[in-house]
């Protein structure tokens, strides 16, 4: 059991991570949008729905808001908003 848990974790850290944990140039597929209320709704409306491919283009000089490409356009969002987006990385 213990071994199984550990291996699961290892897989998660490899492929599954939050959008906020992405590095510049990485791309991935949206698995799930957590969070609640207006902000979650807004993320859906802007096209961040499960199955969408997202590419992290850049982070700002101060590191926080990030710029992503999805559905053929550029979107900016903050780290705490990106934290709610569960992703699966594409290598």
């Amino acid at each position: 059991m213990i071994f199984k848990k550990g291996s699961k974790k290892a897989i998660r850290s490899n492929l599954e991570k939050k959008l906020s944990e992405f590095e510049i140039g990485e791309r991935g597929i949206v698995k799930m949008v957590n969070g609640e209320g207006r902000i979650r709704r807004r993320l859906f409306d802007m096209g961040i729905t499960p199955g969408t491919e997202i590419y992290l283009r850049k982070k700002t000089p101060l590191g926080d808001p990030m710029e992503v490409m999805l559905r053929g356009y550029e979107l900016t969002l903050r780290k705490n908003e990106a934290e709610t987006v569960e992703m699966e990385m594409i290598r």
Binding site: R41, M46, G47, P50, K58, E67, L75, T76
Partner: protein, 808 residues
Amino acid sequence: MKKFALAGNPNSGKTTLFNSLTGSTAHVGNWPGVTVDKKEGTYKKLPEPITLVDLPGIYSLSPYTPEEVVSRNFLLDEFPDCIINIVDATNLERNLYLTTQLMEIDVPIIVALNMMDEVEKNGDKIDVKKLEEKMGVPVVAISALREKGLDELMARGYETCLKGRKASTVLASTELMHLIGDCRIALEGQGVDNALFHAVKLVELDSIESEMHPASVKMVEEFKKVYNDEIFGSDFEAIIADARYKYITKHYSIACEKHRRASGESKSDKIDKVLTHKVWGIPIFLVIMFFIFHFTFSEDLFFLGAFGVFDNVEMTVIEQTISGNAIEEYLSGVTVNSFFGYETGVYSIGVILFNAVDILTGLISTSVEVAMTNAPVWLTGLLIDGVLGGLFSVLSFLPQIIVLFMFFSILEDSGYMARVAFILDRLFKKFGLSGRAFMPMIMGFGCSVPAMVNTRTLADQNERTATIRVIPFFSCGAKLPILTAISGGIVQLFGVGNADIITYGMYVIGIATAIISVILMRKTTMKGEVPPFIMELPAYRLPQLKSLLLHLWDKAKHFIEKAFTIILASTVIIWFISHFSWFWEFLPDERVNESILAGIGGLVQPLFTPLGFGSQLSSSGWVFVVAVVTGLIAKENVIATFGTLGACIAGAMIDVETDGGVSAVIEMITATGITVPGLIAFIAFNMTTIPCMAAVATAKAELPTKKSFIMTLIFWVVASYLLATMIYLIGTWWWTVFIFLAVWAVIILLITLENKGVTKMKKFFSKIYALIPDGNKSTKSSAKCSSCASCSYSSTCATARTKKKDGE
């Protein structure tokens, strides 16, 4: 007359289309959210005239910002005859998401596929016929900018509108459809319009919808318990959003053929890499800002004068013989030098235009003076000092404001401003604002009026109100003369410091006050989460000359209108009360001490004692108070008042124009005995108190309620009074700094305790707040209001109350 509504995503070209169709001059920009209120116009090329309504851009019909509510309410409650859904073809997927929602309203729809020329330029293809087939509504390819396909769009739109249309949905094949169907039948039974739309929103458990139909919510909740999707569980909101996008991707890929680009980087990407560089992004922005202000306000362009480039240039001044004619005499003073400025350096565009207007207005004043040599003294005084003097002092700032605007428009149109908001967001987050708030603030250095209008792009109402309140603290162009004149006076008379450092320091104090005020507001009255920052970054575009000129003309018109109404009226009043005594006796300039204005000034003067320019000054001390009061009309008045009143006191003419009012200030200082801290406090007070009439009028128009406007006025008075008091007291007795530190510590402690729920001061303050007269703007339109959830007046709104009753 038929009514067509223009709806679409922000920055998809609705306003450009609206302008092309109606020949109107509404402002367009490359910044999502330029249209913030609906606009109407007429299209005349059809059998019957069509009223076109340009709505603010929306991403979805679940509105998120206040101006998006405007769009939703219009579409649902005003029953337009047709919706023209403008879609940005370069960004089809996300744009069609709104289309799938609009289709659920019982109104004919036509899709206008805009920017098709750009799609073709990129080498992509969109099959319009196929798209039309899949969406089930007519689709017309257009280019709003080049005015292509517009006639076809309107003709087909008219055709569709005559046919009428029943709502349809792309969710038909999903498992949720029978729940939506049940809700729809239930709502239809209650006689609700647009039942399908409301049914879908109900299944999403949209907050507005749930409040309106509480009875049906139970049905959805019941269903939710038994339903379980593989991926989403019973999260209907996610299922529906996902289903819409799935439908679009499926059919969009059939209709759209993407050209594979050889190189991964477009031109836009390359520019972007430089402008939003990790290290250089902020420095580049600062340099651009510096040059904009330099081009607008500098009297020494590129510092050529300071480098001594003109030291050896022979001055060629056109001398004219003075023939006793006042106009010629005036003109002779106008030289190439005074116009373009060779002595100290070349003037910037802004200053050259400023001088041009100044010379023109001076010429008019002189001509009027010549023409009226035989008229009574009071009449010439009224016309020249009162009417013309007041008008021209304001109009002379028009060129610089326009030039500043031109630069900002170019940056906005190009898409750069959206990037700057992106770069600066982290910093603004610390103050409880989003990156979008930076734009109005930086504009405040030029003029508060356009800056306040620009706050409309902010998503959060509290953020907007807080931003409007601190905009005047970003010292505007009209306040600059106060700074330079008084700091010049201080340096000459007291030999203290350096005029540049005092001026610069005052700017810094202004910014610091703004930041502290925002933080305090966000912790107390303007509470709320830090507004989220989820913003589309528009593609870089070359600014369009036509749209730029239209925008500038619009601004100029607005400004001139203001100058001729509110400012004109107030200057005439000020002139009257400064030139008549209580016994209606006309007073020449020298006897201003006996005027009504002096009387009132003397009466109010004691109030300013803690600020250093109150009762402690000698008999002429009221002039500082009067300068403050005249400054409320236009800040330019402060130095102008010093000029007039200084002359009266000194018994000699002082020409404010030539030395920027420094000698007038010196006269005032020696006559009244004001101290340096008092003078600094005076500047600070003027800088942060109620701004000019124009800005006050704008604030009134932009703030949501009359109550918040009154609170804003009170805030300005209190903030400036406190700031000036602190400066005066600390400047005079340095040890008082400890008292202020203690007071601030207590205030911060109290706020923290209150926010933790230890003290209950809120109740007490809300009682006081309730005493302020409430001129609720929304009462007029509340009968047709369907957005109670996002509306802050639900307690006063009759609709909300009846709806609640019905539900129970």
